[in-house]
Amino acid sequence: MSEKSLFLGIDLGTTNSAAAVFDGTQVHLVRTPQGTTLTPSIVRLDAKGSVTVGAKARRLLDLDPDNTRGEFKRLMGTGQALDFPAAKRQLKPEQLAAEVLKSLRADVQEQFGLAPARAVISVPALFELPQSSATSEAARLAGFERVELIQEPIASALAAGWTTHNAAGSWMVFDLGGGTFDASLLETRDGLLRVIGHDGDNFLGGRDFDHVLVDFVLETLSATQGVRLARADPALAAGLRKLKLAVEDAKIELTREKATSVLVPALQLGAHVLDVDVTLTRDDVTRLCTPLVDRSIAVCVRLLRHHGLDPGQLSRLVLVGGPTVMPVLRQRLQDLLGVTLADGLDPMTLVAQGAALYAASAGLDARPAPKLEEQGRRIWLQYPAMTSDLSPHVVGRLVEEPGPKPVSIQLERHDGWKSAEAPFNEEGAFVLAVDVEPRKPNEFTLRGKTADGKAIALKPSKFSIVQGLTLNDPPLSRTLGVAMANDRVNTYFERGAPLPARRTFRHETVEALVKGQQESVLRIPIVQGEYDHAHLCRLVGALEVRGDQLDATLPAGSQVELTLELDRGGRLSARAMIVSTTQVFEEIAQLLVPEATPEALHGGLQATRDRVTQLRTAAFRHGLTRHIEQLGQVEQTLGEVERDIGAARGGDTDAAQKAKRGLLEIDATLDQLDGDSKFPELEEEAVSAVSWASSLVSRFASPQEQRLFDEAVAGVEKARRARQVHELQRRLRQVRQLGNAAYYRHPDAWPEQFEHAASNLSSMTDLPKAEKLVADGRAAMARGDTTTIKRVTEQLWRLAPADARERQQGHNSSLR
């Protein structure tokens, strides 16, 4: 058993995986038995069911393509199983990922002599919940007792920040991998690493480069050999896989060479057998890949602009991922952004290194728990496992149990430095400041004393703090909320919220839920995305309560208290409590990336096309040239989506997911254009809301509320001038909320609300109950009993029906 702590980080990549170990002072890369630091994320299952992983499996991609699989990371969370015909087995993506993790785990054991029990695994920043939870599941299957997830860009940043001391200012991590692109903007100051923001494209990576190059080779073949070949043709799938491998090898070679050939003798492509010998030059790569490279750079510019920065203000750019060694990419980055590229960092293993550092900061020691238990009085300890602070606090508390206990405590560092001696307070707790030595693990021993001055053993007896960087809490990458029956989203956590986080809201059910009825379902859809409308966000899970699980029938308008919780790695748990019965439900029924069938996608494409046509007509009519331009771009993207749907028909599920997301994004763009063209209407609304609220606020609000109101109104003005639709809507919500608060202090407010509710009596979900309430309300009106009027009106609100269309768009939510 190793004496020192060991922290394990794993980069589970689409194409390649890597692992690194941090011992508190240095990061070591984990090597495969062949001596390399990369393990291709490829798994093969033979007829006997035995598994081959990594470089060896990659060589078999050629010889046994049907039983050898790669790129399964992109299917994580879809629940889609992959076929291994020879072994007659089907494996889910997380099971395949588990094989890669097992192989890395074995390498760690080989090199460091212990089977790691805990680790940090990196995931793309834009991974959604189902994908993250599949990753955790893979780790569990691989035998890890506990894992934390870290977003890849944060890992890279941590590693880059650790390696280059005293770096200051804003900088960017540019991570272009096999299948995903992430750009993150960071800042280091006083040893604190802060993520300012990130952006990216879940569907941009080296394999897209391969695709354009394969298309080029196919075109060349079509021209020279007189055959028609298209990538979307399912009959060509097997042959294309082989060709893609050869093309990828050529692409990699062209990083060093000026020209090379793609050679595949006797390649079977559907009905044709071709001897492929196509020359590929670096210039070809440059020409064909520049549009893709530019797409990634555009994302960087967008990210910078979003945070009010110019490329010139970046102090450096850290490159991560295989494609970032390509000359075309480096050249373009320098041409378009004009920033210095950080050197001395390994683009292929930086993520794993950062994950290992993060394991240290999370105190996630990889060593299995010792067999021999320590003896002594138990104590809970809390301290920052890694910090930039030179005198952090250590906090502790005695576990309540019988037996002798210490009255004071002192902490002694490995080199003899001693903290002050602190007494345990009446809660049995203490707080102590310790000095730590820079850039080192600092091991401390706990020294307890009893009332008669004798030493007493404490458990644990030691702990260590690594001095280095302080990493801020990882930010949530996408806003998370619950869809409501009116197609709105009730936001629980905003993008950028520090993790872990927990939040509780109360909602009401829109309809009755009958005890014992299985078909009667309360549905709570959980969505991620940056939009106010639920249908524009992605459904990432749902909590469902069936009538047959209920203790009692719930009338419409019953209160449900919902708590969502995210851990540091962004894993979600949910808990719904029926307030009236205190019954609790916790199981998230669906945690899968929703499936996308080619038929449904085609329907979506058609509908989007129609919408574009309508918007274009309107744009022409109103002479909105900017809109016409943007619609042109949308059409181009629609062309891509159509190609992806073609590939999806050929069995490429990844392309199906890509098409689906493409459509969602286009939808959001169109919504924005739509909103933009309705801007005058929104402005009008702003004017009327502000004037309505001002009269109320000036009469019924407190001075502080008035001050906030002034601030909100200034915000409305600013957003109006800058034509920022979202900001204007946000500010308007503030104005309305303040006006609303004031409104309810108006003596006529509740009577007015009551009258309104009463006038809608006929549409209420529970007519007899509503009639009774209205009668009660009328009587209260006659008495001038405002309290009752208020209560009655609120109850009437609960009986109002949900709009069917909105509800369907709100992922069939049962809540409001």
Binding site: D473, A501, Q737
Partner: protein, 118 residues
């Protein structure tokens, strides 16, 4: 969800962390991490904090959120201004929680103009 005035004052990150608006970055990190440790161990002292509006429960989430707010220099500035309000100033009792608009037509009554998307 836009916090109202009451929340804005009561949840000012400086009050949550028990720091003066002049606190340095290092102090912020040190105090924040100490509070998180104390909350994780259920220290009585850490469970509440004071603002000019009185005493409030302190949670780990609130501490994390407060730290995140103050790490961002632009956002910190706003909180510095608000935390500088004299604590003696008379502040009204918490306003009744403004109910969300539940009745679909309510916006019209409130003078919001026609209900619109977005």
């Amino acid at each position: 969800m836009v916090p109202g005035l009451f929340e804005r004052i009561a949840q000012n990150p400086f009050y949550v962390l028990g720091l003066a608006p002049t606190a340095s970055r290092t102090e912020l990190e040190r105090e924040g991490s100490k509070l998180l440790s104390m909350l994780q161990l259920g220290f009585k002292d850490a469970l509440t904090y004071r603002s000019p509006l009185g005493e409030h429960p302190r949670t780990e989430e609130a501490v994390r959120a407060a730290m995140a707010e103050l790490r961002d220099p632009k956002r910190r500035l706003v909180h510095e201004l608000l935390a500088a309000l004299p604590a003696s100033q008379t502040v009204p009792a918490a306003p009744q929680a403004a109910p969300e608009l539940k009745w679909p037509r309510a916006p019209r009554v409130f003078g919001y103009g026609p209900k619109r998307e977005g």
